[in-house]
Each structure stands twice: as structure tokens, then as C-alpha cells.
């Protein structure tokens, strides 16, 4: 599993809730994109 730490935040990627993801997206958009954007795009591609 992958852990992200910054300031007082500590997230485990595989266990993040939607709320956690929103926080990450707002505070560290580059990290959010790195860990979540690709998987969303992949899912969308699969749907097509």
C-alpha cells in the first residue's frame, strides 16, 4: 500500500474516501492527478 504524508495529513491511497480525495485534490492537485486521474481515464476508456 502507498502512504502520502504532508503537513498533518496522512493518507493511504488504497483506503481513501471520496472526502479524502477531495482534500488531496484541493491541497495537492499534482499528487491527486498522479494517483487518481490516470485510473479514472482508464476506466472511461474501458467504458468506451
Amino acid at each position: 500500500m502507498i502512504q502520502i504524508n504532508y503537513k498533518d495529513r496522512s493518507f493511504i491511497i488504497e483506503q481513501m474516501t471520496e472526502e479524502d480525495k477531495e482534500i488531496l485534490k484541493a491541497e495537492k492537485p499534482e499528487l491527486y492527478e498522479k494517483h487518481f486521474k490516470d485510473s479514472k481515464e482508464l476506466k472511461n476508456k474501458k467504458k468506451k
Binding site: M1, I2, Q3, I4, N5, Y6, K7, I12, K28, E30, L31
Partner: protein, 234 residues
Amino acid sequence: MACNTFITADIINDCTKRPTRGIYPTAWVMPYEGREYALKTVIGEDNPVYNEIEQLTAPALNFYKIGAEKFALNVGSELVTSEVKRNGFTHKFTGILSQVGNKLLDTMDGIIVIVKKGDKYLCYGLQNGLWKTAQSRMANDNSGLVTVEFASRADMEEDYSEYYFNAVYNNYSGKSLTAQSIELILSIAASINSPNWEIDISGGTNAAIGTWSAQAVADKATIIANGGSVINNI
């Protein structure tokens, strides 16, 4: 065409810190064979004195530590002049060790060494490696300690007298860093108080935090306290 030996920038005398002798009694050693470093010469930038290493293209980076006491480790370089090629430098690393188990030290050869001097990390043998030139232990001499010496081979000199090792490259995602390598990277980052560190040592077979040393865990906390971020395997 002759190699360029012109001076291209000021040579600056660093008056900000009082010069002192010695290095920290820990050296990080990696095998010369298989290294995938490129040199990036930095003149007139943040570190005008040293030549910076542009980091890691290798999928694995395996450093091992040599620990010693006080002033038992020593490093340096010496000019080698030439009439037929550009001048070079012989690099040298010596240690006096109270070493348990000789096997690794006896067989180890062809290394790259990183040491910490003040707040800088210096690298020796980067281009052509350091090779064992002496090793001895006499029971009645020097408290029975092992003395070992590694140096550049003849005609295998280095271009520069020393290299400045920098962890500016932060993305080690998907690689296979050992706990020792992670400790070195975090140690460098923690020693430079900056909110800009974003170190990614997740994925791949990078060592999980549960296998790190207490110092590495503490350095991670320091980086985060300074405003940076760390992404790692658990």
C-alpha cells in the same frame, strides 16, 4: 579539437562557514559496476564550488553503509597532470574500522563513495570507481583495527576533484530502493530545510516504511515538518 580549459566564471571564496576538517563517520557505498549516473556541472549557481550529480536513471540504487568512529574515515583527491590529455584527479577513500566479519570488506572492490561534510554530501569515484589499494590488520598495531584504502586506478582518473551529491531528483516511484538508499535520500532532504521537497519512494519494490531505520523515519518527519511531502510504501 582540444578540450576546453578556459575559465568561464568567477572562483568564489566561501566566507559564510568556517572551514573545518573531517567528515561524518558514515559513508554510503555503492558498486561502481552498473551505475547509471550522468554528470551535471553547475557553475555560478547554488553551489559554485562543486560539480553536481544529476541523479538516478537506474531502476535500482543500492547503497550500503560503512560506519566508523570520529575521524576514522577520510576522503580526498589529488591532481594528476598529463602532457597528452586533460589533467585529472585521483580520488581516495580510507577507513580504519572495528569491523565484525571480514568477508564483505575483503571481497568488496570497485565502489562509489558518498560522505557527508558539514551540510554537503560529496561523492568520490563517480566516473571510474575507487579500487582497493590496501587493506591490513595487525593484531598488535593500531588496536587491532582494519585499515582499508580505495583509490582511483592509474589512467582512470576523475575529471573533477570532488562531486556534490544532490537529491534534487525526487521521483523514485516504481523503483527498487533499499532501506539504506531511502535513508540516504531522506537524510539529504532533511538536512536541507525546504518546503519544496516532494519525495516519491512509492510503488515498485521500494522498501516499505516498516523496514526503515529509526533515523530514516525521523528524517521523513523532519521533511514533512519543514513543509514537504513524502510518498512511500507501507
